[in-house]
Symmetry: C2
Subunit: 240 residues, 2 copies
């Protein structure tokens, strides 16, 4: 994709980039708003490093020059199907997916992610941190809800040298907060996101560099439904 | 030190343990209140791993069974004399030490530390997180002030599964908040802290397992003054 003009005076933003379709779309929103983007991804002992491969592919696709990848030690804590030896649930109904907090919840994950983003924002002189939380996540994960994001922003503006010495303070931007998956797919498509480079699956069946999906974990079901409802073709391959 | 009776039903608490005299004293406060303590320390690319050695010595001294040491990647961000190639200031006056935010400030450090403590608290079923921030730190570091700690607690209670499903929610305990260094030394002495196992120095002169102090960095000057004002003997050795 072509570089925007006038890049020498762009304001910087941190974008949390997981490799999924939400963060890929949020990235495109920040790009479209004209920010110079510093991408931030985490290697936190995910079962599958392909999430990170997808994040790299997305960042490279948009010509990002600074993509920080931080190693996190979440395995030491355990407690989640995504970092521990708990089985990823498959073939659950819409009702089951919508209820309660799933075992794929990682303890305090977004708080840890946003805390690192806060450090990076201070070092980079960025005012905005973009995160792809949305209405669907919100049903199950406490740290995706708008009141959580708002409380994090309040805390962040008391936490750092930059926020005390400069105005305006730090903003946690969650532009997809009220979006369904279908609306995210529509927006991403409109902004030129290459969804073939995104990985939503909790248990991807392929090998390295293969972004195909199992099709039956909660994340795959939500993704599939989103593309169907948006009547947009999903370029990924589903095993089931 | 002797084990307290009735340990089978103790409530758990997370104690952030840096190896300095503040966190050593906070540890003793939590111990005295009867908690089963899970100690949490970080290896974050400090110039000197002796901080961690001191933390281990303190935890072992109290017979802690679970001491989590998490590797953090803060070097990737830079921006501090404690993690970057910025020189640690020496021989500064009291006035200089009291003014502004020092270069030893690590961007968003307490936010990152507390975020990990939050994850560990959720996994361990702990309600209390103890941190040794205090009035002296507070003058220079934004993330040591009471309004910051309070905002973190508000955010934390919206962030996790445990806080939503259970009451009472999470408490961030900073019992030294209004203490001078002298008062901390007095309290720690009263509670049986072995200050020979603590390391305050930003640039310790000795080798591995040696907890001697340079005597002239900001942290050494504050420590020394604290012991002097409390009229208590400091068991450490000062090079200068």
């Amino acid at each position: 994709m072509a570089e925007k003009a006038g890049s020498e005076k762009k304001q910087r933003a941190i974008v949390l980039l997981s490799g999924g379709l939400d963060s890929a779309t949020v990235f495109a929103v920040a790009y479209q708003e004209g920010y110079q983007i510093v991408a931030l991804s985490f290697d936190y002992g995910q079962r599958h490093v392909r999430e990170l491969e997808a994040a790299r592919a997305i960042a490279q696709g948009w010509g990002v020059q600074h993509h920080a990848i931080v190693n996190l030690d979440l395995r030491a804590f355990g407690g989640s199907a995504l970092t521990d030896n708990i089985e990823v649930p498959k073939g659950r109904s819409d009702k089951e997916i919508g209820e309660g907090i799933p075992v794929t919840y990682v303890p305090a994950r977004n708080t840890i992610f946003l805390s690192h983003a806060l450090a990076l924002a201070e070092v980079e002189g960025a005012r905005d941190i973009f995160i792809g939380v949305n209405a669907l996540d919100y049903s199950g994960y406490p740290d995706c809800r708008p009141e959580y994001i708002s409380a994090f922003q309040t805390m962040a503006n008391l936490a750092t040298k930059a926020c005390i010495e400069e105005t305006p303070g730090l903003l946690i931007r969650s532009p997809l907060q009220d979006f369904t998956k279908a609306k995210i797919v529509e927006l991403g498509t409109h902004l030129g996101v290459d969804f073939a480079n995104t990985l939503s699956c909790y248990d991807p069946p392929g090998g390295r560099g293969d972004f195909s999906h199992c099709g039956i974990c909660d994340a795959c079901q939500l993704r599939r439904k989103g593309f169907e409802e948006a009547s947009i073709h999903d370029p990924t391959r589903y095993k089931n």
